[in-house]
């Protein structure tokens, strides 16, 4: 027979003003199974908690109901008190008569009646509560960082320096990301490579970092503290253990005119290549699409069409037969830092709803380029060795027009957000240009200059005041080629006059978008993303680097447009969160998870299909001889988040959420109805 104790709290005046707490305690005390019912001014205070402990000890209570505030507020407090008195904490529940009753009603009589109802409902539930044990799961103290840009590099280094083992996975042949392409960085104009490459080398040499470049995450299983990650090692066609990065293969390669991705197609590379001289790891990759050997194979030639690189390699590292390999890693936490790509200005759009800018001539007018291409033109390591020369005829451009907000803040083109970094890098571009071409004219078309950041506004003002950039407020309507010049038609909204400029070159500050394929990765990781593909943080203010999946964190521009300082700060924050997680030997989880009754389960696996967390697994049921009887569903308590969707879906009622069983819910409803 149940022996329930009920404790009604006044919460000072909060409840007591509207609810007659003494009457609630009196009425509830008459219910069958309730052996103790009292009211008190502040139940969460020390004397209040002492009342509960004392009653448990003296009256041998089998369940406790605290009629007070929201369980969000004090469930832990009261469960701890109950646990302190020797009662299983999950036999203690709260009836919310504050947020759900006293705060929202005025009629004292009716509110008191409602409070009695609310308490009665929980009493009936608690009568059917069973003791539950907190789930303890071990933590694998290794972290996976996805993406080797500045955010991923920072996260990996912070984690490794903090004592954690790190697996850093990078899709491209080298780490470094977009930052390695930049010439100089705002707001200090320090050389991007100079501050980045030492960090890249540090990653490579760190004893606790396993760098996996030219790899992709293929599958993720498991849950916080215990993820199993399958990583695809794409075939480099070069044996990493033999190659010493001498570069002889690249010199020997006969294919020399492949547009370089690193140089944003403004330069050329060979078919066997490292993206840039400072690449980490400094091991080449054969681009099979362009390689003469593989092209010959694809055409069905029996004789090898080429093999110059293999002949040139003194160490026998070239391996044409290499295939993709799969590696499995066990990790306890994952940091997603996949970064961004530029919005496509031309016709090819990666997603429905996005439109290009035909009116800006990108792709048809050679002297219309995007921001990253300008970075390569201005970079000492770029295709022009740092000389600013326009792509069409290699002349020094005397007039450059910069267009801000190309894609950004343009709902008609499919992007309504501000890309945040363009105002700053355009100001930087005007400076770099004027530093290289002293008599050059830099004109910027802008809608607003958004330069919020330490030293940022000063930086944009410097572009205007010291380096003579002319800012014209307004969007450009059309850019087209007119003989030797690029015509720019715009409007100066401050003067109210149309503007027409004969430019030598036009640079488009295109919007930042999440990387292609981010949706697939997010689905693999069970994290949510917004309609643009940016990974959603768990809370925009209070949990900015966590995702809604426990153990998966986010850093850098895959979450929203971010500049370098923001990305680095986020990466360090994510690393701190992971290290905090790793400081526990075991993780404690609420035991309110789903459990399957194997005897009842028919193995239809509806539950598996509806589970948002992938917590449902298959379990074989065998007889004593080992014959397979049936395959049933089984819930992994580490993954289950206790949402109850499976319970609502199961046709045979064989899966139940602990602490919220059908029996308990029906009892609550009946308590109201009867």
């Amino acid at each position: 027979m149940a022996r329930i104790g009920v404790f009604v709290c006044h919460c000072g005046e909060n409840i007591g003003r509207t609810v007659d707490c003494a009457r609630v305690a009196g009425e509830i005390g008459k219910l069958p199974g309730v052996v103790h019912s009292v009211d008190y001014k502040y139940m969460c205070s020390d004397p209040g908690q002492a009342l509960i402990k004392q009653a448990i000890a003296e009256k041998g209570l089998t369940g406790v109901v605290v009629s007070a505030c929201s369980p969000h507020m004090h469930e832990r407090t009261f469960r701890r008190a109950a646990g302190g008195a020797g009662l299983n904490p999950f036999l203690c529940e709260m009836a919310n008569i504050r947020e759900h009753c006293s705060w929202i009603h005025e009629d004292r009589e009716a509110a008191t009646d409602k409070a009695i109802d609310l308490a009665r409902v929980i009493v009936e539930k608690v009568k059917r509560n069973v003791p539950l044990e907190t789930i303890r799961i071990p933590v694998e103290k290794r972290a996976l960082v996805i993406g080797g840009g500045i955010a991923g590099i920072q996260a990996a280094l912070d984690l490794a320096d903090g004592g954690a083992e790190v697996v850093l996975v990078e899709k491209e042949p080298s780490i470094g990301g977009h930052m390695s392409q930049l010439s100089e960085t705002f707001p200090t104009l320090d050389c991007s490579q100079c501050i980045l490459t030492p960090r890249m080398v540090e990653v490579y040499q760190h004893p606790r970092i396993r760098l996996m470049a030219y790899c992709e995450v293929d599958a993720v299983e498991g849950y916080i503290g215990n993820f199993k990650v399958t990583i695809r090692q794409k075939a480099r066609s070069v044996d990493e253990t033999k190659c010493n990065g001498c570069g002889a293969c690249q010199k020997a390669c006969v294919v020399k005119n492949v547009p370089s991705e690193f140089d944003e197609r403004l330069g050329k590379r060979t078919a066997i290549y490292v993206p840039f001289p400072q690449a980490v790891p400094n091991i080449p990759v054969i681009d099979r699409e362009h390689c003469a050997y593989f092209k010959g194979r694809a055409r069905g030639m029996k004789k090898d069409a080429c093999g110059k690189c293999k002949e040139a390699c003194a160490r026998g590292a070239i391996d044409f037969a290499q295939e993709d390999r799969f590696v499995t890693e066990k990790v306890g936490a994952i940091v997603v830092a996949t970064g961004y790509e530029l919005y496509s200005i031309g016709k090819d759009q990666p997603a429905a709803g996005l439109k290009g800018y035909g009116e800006y001539g990108y792709g048809t007018v050679p002297d219309v380029i995007d921001g990253l291409q300008f970075e390569r033109l201005a970079s000492a390591s770029g295709p022009t060795a740092g000389k600013l020369l326009r792509p069409s005829d290699g002349k020094v451009p005397k007039k450059i027009v910069f267009l801000q907000c190309v894609g950004s803040r343009d709902p008609a083109k499919g992007i309504d957000y501000c890309s945040k970094v363009c105002c700053m890098y355009v100001a930087k571009h005007t400076m770099l240009y004027r530093h290289k071409v002293h008599d050059g004219e830099a004109t910027v078309f802008y809608m607003d200059v958004r330069a919020a950041g330490k030293g940022y506004d000063e930086f944009t003002r410097r572009a205007v005041e010291e380096d003579g950039a002319v800012y014209v407020r307004g969007r450009v309507s059309r850019v087209y080629r007119d003989g030797d010049v690029v015509k720019v038609l715009g409007f100066d909204t401050l003067n109210g006059t149309p503007v027409e400029i004969d430019a030598d070159m036009v640079v488009l500050a295109t919007a930042m978008r999440p990387r292609k394929g981010i949706e697939k990765l997010a689905q693999t990781l069970s994290v949510s993303y917004d309609r643009h593909g940016f990974i959603n943080e768990a809370h925009p203010k209070l949990r900015p680097v966590e995702t809604n999946t426990a153990g998966v964190f986010v850093a850098g521009a895959c979450q929203a447009p971010r500049d370098i300082p923001d990305s680095v700060a986020m990466a360090s924050a994510a690393a701190a969160k992971v290290l905090g997680l790793f400081s526990n030997e075991m993780l404690e989880r609420e035991p309110t998870v789903a459990r399957v009754d194997a005897a009842l389960c028919a193995g239809c696996f509806h539950c598996e299909r509806v589970c948002p967390y992938g917590a449902v697994e298959h379990k074989e049921v065998r007889d004593r001889k080992g014959n397979l009887l049936k395959v049933v569903a089984d819930v992994n308590p580490g993954v289950c988040q206790g949402c109850g969707t499976c319970q609502a879906t199961c046709p045979s009622k064989s899966v139940e959420l602990m602490g919220f069983t059908d029996e308990q819910i029906y009892a609550e409803v009946n308590a109201l109805a009867l």
């Binding site: 003002r461 005041e465 002319v470 014209v472 003067n495 006059t497 027409e500």
Partner: protein, 197 residues
């Protein structure tokens, strides 16, 4: 850059901005078009170009449009704009420099009445060391022939003692005249040098 209609061909990159820096010692590029100057300008309701427009056009090298516009002559040089500018720009001094440039480019360019008023005012200062209102009015009316303009306001001004009948020259009138002469001499020398070169 070419703006439709009013602008002259460019004089090389940003030449007006550079010339203004030479004339006023101030960097007009510091202007970020907040409009505080125009917000305080007593003539903002009367002129086509307000102080912030003038600053912007200087930065855009719109020399011809600026020098041809009457607005620079309607400026009262009260200097409220300069006083209030958050960025240490000097719209009043810029306006002054533009007037100088307009006169140098073509002495007949200012509107006749406005030039007459400026001349009449300077004459008063030259002869009395200060502004003598009645003399100013008489001088202006003789220069423009607008004899009956605003006559109706005279009795009221006289009654409130705003219109004295006798000038009160300051003690240092001679020194003031010497300043005028020195300025004229310097201007002659400068123009002679220009012609010589």
């Amino acid at each position: 850059m070419r703006t439709h209609g009013t602008d002259a061909p460019a004089h090389g990159p940003l030449s007006l901005r550079a010339e203004m820096k030479e004339r006023t010692g101030k960097n007009t590029a510091r202007c970020y078009q907040c409009g505080k100057c125009s917000a305080g300008c007593p003539m903002a309701g009367e002129t086509r170009l307000r102080p912030h427009d003038v600053m912007r056009l200087v930065n855009q090298d719109a020399r011809a449009r600026l020098l041809a516009d009457e607005s620079i002559w309607l400026c009262l040089t009260c200097e409220t704009c300069t006083e209030r500018c958050p960025n240490g720009c000097d719209p009043a001094r810029t306006m002054d420099a533009l007037r100088e440039m307009a006169l140098e480019a073509s002495p007949g360019s200012p509107p006749r009445a406005l030039l007459a008023f400026h001349r009449a005012f300077l004459d008063q200062v030259r002869w009395t060391g200060r502004s003598f209102e009645l003399g100013l009015v008489a001088d202006y009316k003789l220069r423009t022939g607008a004899l009956l303009q605003d006559v109706a306001t005279a009795p009221g001004l006289v009654a409130r003692g705003k219109l004295g009948f006798v000038p009160h020259p300051i003690d240092g009138v001679k020194e003031v005249r010497r300043i005028f002469e020195a300025c004229e001499e310097a201007t002659r020398a400068a123009s002679g040098k220009k012609e010589g070169a």
